[in-house]
């Protein structure tokens, strides 16, 4: 069984300040972890993924995430928020025995203020 918990349903940041989106996971097997972003009225876009290689994963648009097995966490960060980062972010887990099935977190809505 696998699950993912996004600890914040809503995050508000000022433009130019750091962004932190928190995610904890639970998985019986070695998981693959992903962050997806969904802009209003647009499709889902993959930001980055962890697949048992380097624990610090760099993605698109300046985002990165660190896989911490001891804390079962996969938090997403960005050093400096941009107005275009305003969107819904989903932390997603897939276990090696799940045949590609993705388990989505509840999502975190990010608001960026000028």
């Amino acid at each position: 069984a696998q699950s993912v918990t996004q600890l914040d349903s809503h995050v508000s940041v000022s433009e130019g300040t750091p962004v932190l989106l928190r995610c904890n996971y639970s998985s019986s097997y070695s998981p693959s972890l992903f962050w997806y972003v969904q802009h209003p009225n647009k499709g889902l876009q993959l930001l980055l993924k962890y697949t048992s290689a380097a624990t610090l994963v760099k993605g698109i648009n300046g985002f990165e995430a660190e896989f911490k097995k001891s804390e079962t966490s996969f938090h997403l960060t960005k050093p400096s928020a941009h107005m275009s980062d305003a969107a819904e972010y989903f932390c997603v887990v897939s276990a090696t025995d799940s045949w590609g099935k993705l388990q989505f977190g509840a999502g975190t809505q990010v608001v960026v203020t000028p």
Binding site: S32, G43, K49, A53, Q103, F104, G105
Partner: protein, 117 residues
């Protein structure tokens, strides 16, 4: 990366009717998935559709309500049958495609926004 299109992009339907959503991929893929995103909610997997076999449904979803076809490696349909307002959601298809290192990534279609009156 796989490019996915869905038809229709949105629709407004009357309760009791059915709607078939199409998903087309620009390359051959083994596994396709259908998800539902209810208003203000996250995505929930409905079923996995592999070519040449019956779709596998997740708990809470049944074939009579959401019949799926997968006639070839680039196409699938999802039908929402006997619709009620509770079926108002965005329906998304996705496919697995390997990246350059051979790890499977899932790519999502733009979604079909369904409103049931």
């Amino acid at each position: 990366s796989a490019v996915i299109s869905q038809k229709p992009s949105r629709d407004i339907c009357q309760r009791g009717t059915s709607l078939t959503i199409q998903c087309q991929v620009d390359s051959q893929v083994t596994m396709m998935f259908w998800y539902r995103q209810q208003p203000g909610q996250s995505l929930t997997l409905i079923a996995t559709a592999n070519q040449g076999s019956e779709a596998t449904y997740e708990s809470g979803f049944v074939i009579d309500k959401f019949p799926i076809s997968r006639p070839n490696l680039t196409f699938s349909t999802l039908t929402v049958s006997n619709m009620s307002p509770e079926d108002s959601s965005i329906y998304l298809c996705s496919v697995e495609d390997p990246d350059r290192q051979g790890y499977n990534e899932q790519f999502f279609g733009p979604g079909t926004r369904l409103t049931v009156l």
